[in-house]
């Protein structure tokens, strides 16, 4: 108990409250506001740190590793789903896309855990986070479309915009850039906002995620088939293992290796579902939202992060 991070306790509180059918609820506008805040804060803090002397050392290999992971991870995910579950092709492809992409809040919780363990992490990881959001969507579409019908050009343009310019990527990268441009000036002006409030905002947001996850579990029991749950627990471990390897190969510090594992092991629950709903209307959102939000997210936050952190410390020294 002593060692469970406080934000995780708030996740558990929300989860338990919703399972018990409490009417506790966080207004939509507040959830969205908190998620904007977290992206802004993560971006600015990363950018500011990047501007410090030596901050960019090792960025390119890490970015390349992140892009590659996001592009490639959907392929084993899809293969696994087709081999072991009865999901139709579009739904399997859509699910696979979620696991190549990443979850901002899982990263935030990982960052907090890394810092609580007294480790530092490379400042450019928020840029890696942003870079990993969208490639997986393209892979998922390719997986779904093999032999499928062509899309109308207008839809395709809209989809490309959605994928490349989706709000979270823009805000993350933009804030990162601003933090980097602003440097010490930005740090001084924004520190009470992006540092002081971070933990509190994360707690409130995780409370809401707990509520949403448990409610989703109840709303979409079709995703609760045993083999799907197994996928939702094993795939993040497989992804994290790849992330660990990639982080080590990219020469990151122990904290950075842990966060690469957290990223690769996490699954998107905002950007990818929205893109999939538009691009693959035949895929069942009840399956991919439930797996990502209600199975993999809790698993990562509660068990995955401490595990990856311990492994990273072992393997990378620290």
């Amino acid at each position: 108990m002593e060692t469970i991070p406080v934000p995780v306790l708030f996740f558990a509180l929300g989860f338990a409250a919703a399972l018990a059918r409490s009417d506790l609820a966080v207004p939509d506008a507040l959830s969205k506001g908190l998620s904007l805040y977290l992206m802004l804060a993560i971006g600015v803090k990363g950018g500011v740190a990047l501007a410090a002397p030596g901050g960019a050392a090792g960025m390119l290999p890490a970015l390349a590793a992140g892009l590659l992971l996001s592009f490639l991870l959907p392929i084993p995910a899809y293969a696994g789903l087709k081999a072991f579950t009865r999901l139709d092709r579009p739904t399997a492809a859509a699910v696979a896309g979620h696991y190549g992409s990443v979850s901002v809040v899982t990263f935030a919780a990982g960052l907090a855990a890394v810092q609580a363990a007294g480790l530092r992490a490379e400042p450019f990881l928020p840029a890696v986070l942003a870079a990993m959001e969208t490639p997986a969507i393209l892979t998922a579409l390719l997986l779904a479309r093999r032999g499928g019908a062509a899309r109308r050009p207008k839809d395709r343009a809209k989809l490309l915009r959605e994928v490349l310019l989706n709000g979270s990527v823009v805000l993350l990268l933009g804030s990162f850039l601003i933090g980097w441009l602003g440097g010490a000036r930005a740090a001084a002006a924004l520190s009470p906002f992006v540092e002081g409030l971070f933990q509190g905002a994360l707690c409130l947001f995780l409370l809401d995620m707990g509520l949403l996850a448990a409610r989703q579990l109840r709303a979409a029991p079709q995703a609760l088939e045993a083999r799907l749950i197994a996928f939702g627990l094993l795939m993040p471990l497989f992804g994290a293992a790849c992330g660990l390897a990639a982080g080590l190969a990219a020469g990151l510090s122990p904290g950075g290796v842990a966060l690469m594992a957290v990223l690769a092991g996490s699954a998107s629950y905002i950007a990818v579902p929205a893109a999939m709903r538009l691009a693959l209307p035949e895929a069942d959102p009840g399956v991919y939202v439930t797996l990502s939000l209600a199975v993999t997210f809790p698993f990562n936050v509660v068990l995955g992060i401490p595990l990856h952190l311990a492994l990273a410390q072992r393997l990378a020294g620290g």
């Binding site: 949403l212 629950y269 905002i270 579902p273 959102p285």
Partner: protein, 102 residues
């Protein structure tokens, strides 16, 4: 003083609302109104918004149009609905200022 028109009412996923209004525009409707939806139930089960990605949000699209435009809209029903969650209903109404509605 009033003029007969058709009142078309479509409940559809929020992420697909723009496709519906594009279709209404293409069929020659002179306007439409989108209303928010709290929750709904249909063949595809409960849909209650509030998930962070917005994929479970519905909206209601209301369009008042001439009989001719309404017929075109209904003909396009496959494009409109396909396999997606959505319902379409049509009823009679009367409007002021006919010139405002095609």
């Amino acid at each position: 003083m009033t003029h007969p028109r058709k009142r078309i009412e479509i409940v559809v996923e929020a992420v697909r609302a723009e496709q519906v209004t594009d279709l209404l525009d293409a069929c020659g409707a002179s306007g439409w109104t989108i209303l928010p939806v709290v929750s709904g139930r249909g063949r595809t089960g409960m849909r209650r918004g509030g998930d962070l990605a917005g994929v479970f949000d519905n909206v209601l699209v209301l369009c008042i149009a001439s009989e001719a435009v309404a017929a075109k809209v209904l003909e396009a029903r496959e494009e409109l609905l396909g396999a997606r969650p959505a319902i379409v209903s049509v009823s009679d109404c009367a409007v002021l200022r006919a010139e405002h509605f095609r």
